[in-house]
């Protein structure tokens, strides 16, 4: 379904991706973990050519692109295979909730307005925003905005939805509503690649977890394997650092 071969990317001579090979099956939910600067977001952005890889091959569905020779047209075609949910939502600020979701359908997919509207209302209902159709993004909470972002991606019915730290910019009390929407659509068999820092979410939802560091995939496996029996030292150290478990109990004891 998705096939990456030897994806390389450098920014100003520092190599961020050092030749990534990755295969993702249809309907698979893959989460990418890793410290900041490990290249996980860059890898995600290379999938839809928001960053143009310096070398390697990207295949999504039936579209295959040699990144070194990629033309504008090829980049556009492969982009249409995917949709993205952004960390900072990136909703079109001058458009209403409904227009945000319809925009891609009408402009990029050339769906008739009536059909686009019908489909958009359907997905907005699914993310629980049927009563906000004519609101502007600035009138919504962060959690609601991100749910619109998910609806916008979902409406396009893409081969894969790319999630770039979808809950990192949210207030803690809003994280739950967004995660539960992502969980619902994950169960529907949509292929998803999720870059996240939400460990419990990764554990619960993913079919496969990748751990990235220093521009390479250090380790991959089922959530059970990665979280309970990581093979690599780097993975172990990262998980130890990120899990709050080891920090909170002593603090709690002190309060008591």
């Amino acid at each position: 379904m998705i096939n990456l071969k030897g994806i390389k990317k450098s920014f100003n001579k520092s190599e961020v991706l050092k030749g990534i090979n990755l295969k993702i099956e249809k309907g698979e939910v893959v989460t990418i973990l890793g410290p900041s600067g490990s290249g996980k977001t860059t890898l995600l952005r290379c999938l839809n050519f928001l960053e143009k890889p310096d070398g390697g091959m990207v295949q999504i569905g039936n579209i295959k692109v040699d990144t070194e020779k990629a033309t504008k047209k090829e980049m556009l075609t492969i982009r249409k295979q995917s949709a993205m949910v952004f960390q900072h939502y990136n909703l079109f600020a001058h458009k209403t909730v409904l227009q945000n979701v319809m925009e891609g359908l009408i402009v990029a997919k050339r769906v008739k307005k009536k059909d686009a509207r019908y489909r958009s209302e359907l997905v907005l209902e699914k993310v629980g925003l049927k009563d906000k159709l004519h609101h502007y993004p600035s009138q919504l909470s962060g959690g609601q905005q991100q749910r619109v972002g998910i609806a916008r991606a979902l409406a396009l019915n893409p081969e894969v939805i790319l999630f770039d730290e979808p809950t990192s910019a949210l207030d803690p009390e809003l994280v739950g509503e967004v995660l539960s929407v992502i969980k619902t659509i994950a169960k529907e068999g949509i292929t998803m690649v999720v870059v996240t820092h939400e460990m419990s979410f990764a554990r619960e939802v993913s079919d496969r977890v990748l751990f990235m560091d220093g521009g390479v995939i250090v380790e991959e496996g089922t959530p059970l394997e990665i979280f309970h029996a990581p093979k690599e030292e780097r993975t172990r150290r990262f998980l130890q650092r990120i899990s709050g478990d080891s920090f909170f109990p002593p603090l709690k004891e002190r309060v008591n």
């Binding site: 839809n48 949709a83 952004f86 900072h88 990136n90 990029a108 600035s138 009138q139």
Partner: protein, 235 residues
């Protein structure tokens, strides 16, 4: 010196001067319209860093910013016919008002190009990324996503330029254009009541500017309709 101050003349002069408001507005409308076109044309080489043209635009903008508009007016009025003479085009019979319009268009164009460039750059990059992520081309992204938002950002500055330009048109009389100010000049010669004429003129200019501010303010509200501050004010 003039005669004794007579306040009743102020009221009396207003209709005479007001009659020439049309000329002032004509200059304004034509120069803003041409200036907008020139501004877009000048912003493009700057945005895309087109070699040579980019440097020329930088020079153009910096020259217009760095010289008084009155001097620009004289440069065009005396310079343009001389330059066109070389390629055998005779514009000596052209009415002075056209030189005024050309000058103000050039001047406004420089200002607008900077306003547009700044506004387009001020639109969040994430908007473009989102547009690409749903499969839009760069042209679709520019016209459907970036430009509408850039217009909102540019609008207050454009509005200021329009009002500034309206006042600047009062310099047109220096090359013999019969606008409000030009008529005022002849009124002074005829009546020797300079102060009254200037007071009348300021009343008219001020009223027109107030009217413009009101209208442009309403338009600005419209452009800001999806912004937080305006939404909460409406609620």
């Amino acid at each position: 010196m003039g005669k004794a101050f007579d306040p009743s003349l102020i009221i009396e002069f207003i209709p005479t001067l007001f009659h020439y408001l049309g000329v002032t507005l004509q200059i304004l409308a034509a120069s803003i319209f041409l200036g907008l076109i020139l501004g877009v044309a000048a912003a493009i080489p700057r945005m895309f860093k087109i070699p040579i043209l980019n440097q020329l635009v930088i020079l153009y903008v910096s020259f217009i910013r760095g010289t008084p508009i009155l001097i620009q007016l004289f440069l065009v009025f005396y310079g343009l016919p001389a330059v066109l003479q070389i390629i055998k085009i005779d514009v000596s019979k052209l009415e002075a008002i056209y030189f005024v319009i050309i000058t103000y268009a050039i001047s406004n164009g420089a200002g607008f190009s900077e306003i547009f460039r700044g506004a387009i750059r001020a639109v969040d990059k994430g908007q473009t990324e989102a547009a690409y992520s749903v499969g839009m081309t760069s042209t679709q992204n520019f016209f459907r996503i970036v430009m509408p938002q850039a217009l909102r950002i540019a609008f207050p500055n454009v509005a200021n330029s329009v009002i500034g330009s309206l006042k600047d048109t009062s310099l047109a009389f220096t090359i013999g254009v019969m606008d409000m100010m030009g008529r005022g000049d002849t009124l002074i010669s005829a009546t020797a009541h300079a102060l009254e004429v200037y007071i009348s003129l300021s009343i008219i200019y001020y009223s027109v500017v107030l009217l413009f501010e009101k209208t442009l303010g309403k338009l600005e509200k419209y452009f800001n309709r999806y912004q937080k501050a305006d939404l909460s004010a409406a609620a």
